[in-house]
């Protein structure tokens, strides 16, 4: 009986871990447009929040990475498709300007690709 309980508890724990990290819904934010520029502030602390940014094609997009920690994992942000690798100063906001000219999903990540986010560019 005890053994069965242990087994059920173990399976439930594994299921919960996988649900929590893989299946939970993503939060996205649409970049706010003003004066021809779209802008979004992304807070950096153990991850990116929001982790999905929606933006429009063809308009300059200003990403403001507000780093709220000094953990080395987040000290660089890489947006490969835009050729950006930028150091984020701890406890400071770093502005990265890009102009998406194609629709699609572009990933941004930390230098080691452990923390990730996406820019969804709509046509």
């Amino acid at each position: 009986m005890l053994q069965l309980l242990i087994l059920i508890a173990g399976v439930a724990a594994i299921a919960w871990v996988n649900w929590y990290f893989f299946m939970a819904p993503k939060v996205f934010v649409t970049a706010k447009a003003s004066g021809g520029t779209q802008e979004v502030t992304i807070s950096v602390e153990g991850g990116y929040s929001p982790s999905v940014v929606r933006a429009k094609k063809g308009q300059p997009l200003r990403l403001i990475f507000d780093r709220k920690e000094k953990a080395p994992c987040s000290d660089e942000v890489v947006i490969s498709e835009f050729g950006v690798r930028r150091f984020l100063k701890p406890f400071e906001a770093t502005v990265i300007d890009v102009t998406p000219t194609e629709a699609g999903t572009f990933e941004f990540a930390c230098g080691m690709s452990m923390l990730r986010g996406q820019i969804e560019v709509e046509g």
């Binding site: 508890a9 021809g36 153990g46 953990a71 080395p72 000290d75 150091f87 000219t101």
Partner: protein, 789 residues
């Protein structure tokens, strides 16, 4: 292929009549302040748009420079009671790099301090734990572990002799003392693991910190319970053991590993730092006839710059006075200093050796060659190598899967080996969490790319990114453009032979009269030769270029034709008398050019393009690497074969036009070959783009040819060989790293879970697991650093 998206620079004219400025604003406390400042700006004439950001504390203003100025904008913000500063040019790359370096050093020092302190506390905790273990309280402690078990038995006897009083302290006191020690280690040195794991958890992500936090957390909570309520454990038949020393030692070892890794990671971008340091801070300029020392960033295009012997050239420019040897090795990898005279280009960051130079600045700031190289390097280092994709997929699911395995381990021990007890199950689960190393997987490819890009740049080889490194590694055929790649690309007249009735000088002078109107590269050689011999001729008229063949014009009332044999023959002129001479020129590697006057051949001019001294040796090395080497040229076959023979190439495609080069690349690709093409970035651009890997020789100031994957800063085939060598070595390191990172986890995790326990009685304690984990990511970074050599 990089998507066609580019980073834009914040301060730049947006259109011809508009400018944009980013002004730092202080005193912004709330959203309404933002509105006030924006209003103040929008009221000004000439301001087309204003945007104020509370987070960056900046106002971004688009305005018409004819109607207002940045000073007016700043004044307007100040008039509303907020602070505003004139915008400075954005923190330079050098400053950004310096800030990053400072943060890295600080991080390293912090980690080292914490690792040493927690290591010392961990050692004390181990000593204090010995009496508890020998008391039989820890029947399972350390045993089965191939290293720690025997080690503990080894120190037991001397410890008992040296500190007998330790063994008379009662268990409860020891446990409470250990708890105190461990709380210090967790709360101070290891705190970052828990806070970072928590923030990651809130974002529904998990990383290395999660594993350490859950692993040590589980061991700590269990020990805490055993300390506070030992009776409860005993009543339920579970020994009230504590694991404090393991918690402290794991934290110490992981911190030590992080410190090593942090320092090694800093070294991966050393090449970039060195590049940035080459730009001198000061420049000596001539303003209003006075020599002034000014910051190099303030030198304006067109200004006169002075460089003394032993100084670095501050910005790019063209020499108008003086003569010197300049060491350009830092940019081109070319070890021999280059002679600079009037009219020559000097590059900012290079080292002036012996003479004085006065030059006029051309490209300053971001347009300078060094800045362009640094920008290219940073973009390349930002790129993701295709090989990274697999690693990325694994890192993104790694931690939750490891946690699942740890839970499964715990359950399996309880169910399959109930006699081993709760402690062993917990220990195995914790060992699984601790030994797993996602960092090694994550660092395997990017560190190799970063180091390789830096190493390449120091040798004058600029890779566009990780993909370029991979593509070049895979090639089996290399196409070399003849002119400018194998040869110097500066053709000169080597011989002139006149037909009966003409003199050499007449032939050359007549030819030069026509060629003055032509833009063909060979034309320049003829004109130069005529000038060198001080020959004068009356200007030509009625010029007509015949593409691929030559040109014709009227000189002093006579119809003059200049071109190859086909041109002459197409006009029904028999070149018979000089045909043998032309063949002789071609066989020696020169291009014969016929000159015909009024329907008969007047002479033939040999134009040859000297072979670069390094070409033959470089081609030999390419062939020894097993590459099929093919020469491509627009020249006639005899000339091409002669050059090919001299440099040791036996496959030649001659007489091809630029579109023909693309066709040749395609033909080889259809044969199943993976083709690299070396040529100049302008004329050969289509073929470079078609090739699997395009290597362009840098020409002029444009170093970032869109068409090529690799830019060679030295127009020398040795650079192409270095590029291929480096890409081969990098790919080897990437594969080693990935194999090591995967195998380490694939073997380490099951062993930690106890897979070998039943058969070999082999089990890892969490402490040993943490030592392995600390070394694994460090070894990946260290392996990448080998590419620096």
């Amino acid at each position: 292929m990089m998507a066609n998206i580019r980073e834009t620079i914040t301060m730049q004219p947006t259109t011809e009549n508009a400018a944009e400025a980013t002004i730092p604003v202080s005193g912004l406390t709330c959203a309404s302040c933002v509105g006030h400042v924006r209003e103040a700006l929008e009221e000004l004439p000439g301001v087309t748009a204003a945007n104020v950001n509370l987070v960056t504390r900046e106002a971004t203003v688009s305005f018409n420079p004819g109607d207002t100025s940045v000073e007016t904008l700043v004044e307007a913000i100040r008039s509303r009671g907020y602070g505003a500063e004139l915008p400075v040019v954005r923190a330079s790359l050098a400053e950004e790099q310096a800030a990053q370096e400072e943060a890295q050093t600080e991080e390293y020092n912090d980690l080292r301090r914490k690792a040493i302190a927690s290591g010392a506390l961990g050692a004390v905790a181990m000593v204090l734990s010995m009496p508890l273990m020998s008391a039989g309280d820890h029947a399972t402690h350390g045993s089965g572990d191939p290293i720690l078990g025997p080690l503990m038995n080894l120190i037991e006897v001397p410890l008992r002799t040296a500190m007998p009083w330790l063994y008379s302290i009662d268990a409860a006191t020891l446990k409470w003392t250990l708890l105190l020690l461990t709380v210090v280690v967790i709360g101070w040195a290891g705190r970052q693991f828990y806070t970072r794991a928590w923030t990651a958890f809130r974002h529904r992500t998990a990383d290395m910190n999660t594993l350490i936090a859950v692993g040590t957390g589980a061991a700590f909570v269990y020990s805490l319970a055993a300390t506070v309520a030992p009776d409860f454990f005993v009543r339920h038949g579970v020994p009230a053991e504590v694991y404090y020393e393991a918690v402290a030692m794991i934290i110490a070892l992981v911190l030590a590993g992080n410190a090593l890794e942090s320092r090694a990671r800093g070294k991966t971008s050393e090449a970039l730092k060195k590049m940035l340091l080459m730009q001198p801070a000061q420049a000596r300029v001539l303003r209003n006839g006075v020599e002034l020392d000014v910051p190099a960033s303030e030198v304006q295009g067109g200004e006169v710059v002075l460089v003394r012997p032993g100084e670095r050239v501050p910005v790019d420019g063209i020499v108008f006075e003086g003569r010197s040897a300049v060491d350009e090795s830092m940019l081109t990898g070319e070890p021999v200093p280059v002679q600079k005279e009037v009219g020559d280009k000097v590059i900012g960051g290079t080292l002036n050796r012996l003479g004085f130079l006065r030059y006029r600045a051309t490209a300053v700031g971001a347009a300078g060659m060094l800045s362009q190289i640094v920008k290219l390097m940073r973009e390349a280092q930002a790129s993701r190598a295709p090989m990274q994709k697999l690693a990325d997929r694994i890192s993104s699911v790694f931690v939750p899967i490891v946690i699942s395995i740890a839970i499964a381990t715990f359950v399996a021990w309880l169910l399959l080996a109930p006699e081993a007890g709760l402690i062993r199950a917990l220990s195995a689960a914790v060992a699984v969490l601790i030994i797993a190393c996602p960092c090694a997987v994550g660092l395997a490819v990017p560190t190799a790319v970063t180091v390789a890009i830096g190493r390449g740049a120091q040798a004058g080889v600029l890779f566009k990114g990780g993909e370029a490194l991979e593509k070049l590694h895979g090639v089996d055929t290399i196409l070399l453009d003849k002119t400018g790649t194998i040869t110097q690309g500066r053709p000169s007249v080597t011989r002139v032979v006149a037909a009966a009735g003409f003199s050499e000088d007449t032939v050359l002078a007549t030819a030069a009269a026509v060629e003055r109107l032509s833009e063909h590269p060979l034309a320049e050689a003829i004109v130069r030769a005529a000038e060198e011999r001080a020959l004068v001729s009356s200007p030509a008229g009625d010029f007509d270029a015949v593409p691929g063949l030559g040109a014709s014009a009227i000189v002093e009332g006579r119809r003059v034709l200049i071109g190859n044999q086909r041109l002459v023959e197409s006009r029904e002129i028999a070149p018979t008398a000089l045909l043998a001479t032309a063949e002789e020129f071609a066989a020696a590697g020169a291009t014969p050019v016929f000159v015909a006057v009024d329907g008969s051949v007047a002479g033939v001019i040999a134009i040859s393009d000297p072979i670069k001294p390094s070409s033959a040796a470089a081609i030999k090395r390419l062939r020894s690497k097993g590459l099929r080497v093919v020469m491509l040229t627009g020249d006639r076959k005899t000339t091409a074969l002669a050059v090919a023979r001299m440099v040791g190439i036996d496959e030649v495609v001659a007489g091809v036009l630029p579109e023909g080069k693309v066709a040749e690349v395609k033909r080889l690709q259809q044969e199943g070959r993976r083709v690299a093409m070396v040529g100049d970035g302008v004329n050969d651009a289509p073929a470079l783009a078609q090739a699997d890997a395009g290597l362009s020789m840098a020409s002029g100031s444009d170093i970032a040819s869109e068409a090529s994957d690799v830019t060679l800063m030295r127009s020398d085939l040795e650079a192409a060989v270095s590029a291929i060598d480096l890409s081969d070595r990098t790919l080897r390191v990437m594969k080693q790293n990935l194999a090591w990172a995967f195998l380490y986890n694939v073997i380490g995790i099951p062993v930690a879970a106890g897979a070998l326990y039943a058969a070999f009685d082999l089990l890892l304690t969490p402490v040993l697991a943490s030592a392995a984990m600390a070394l694994s990511s460090f070894s990946v970074v260290s392996n990448s650093l080998r590419l620096r050599r």
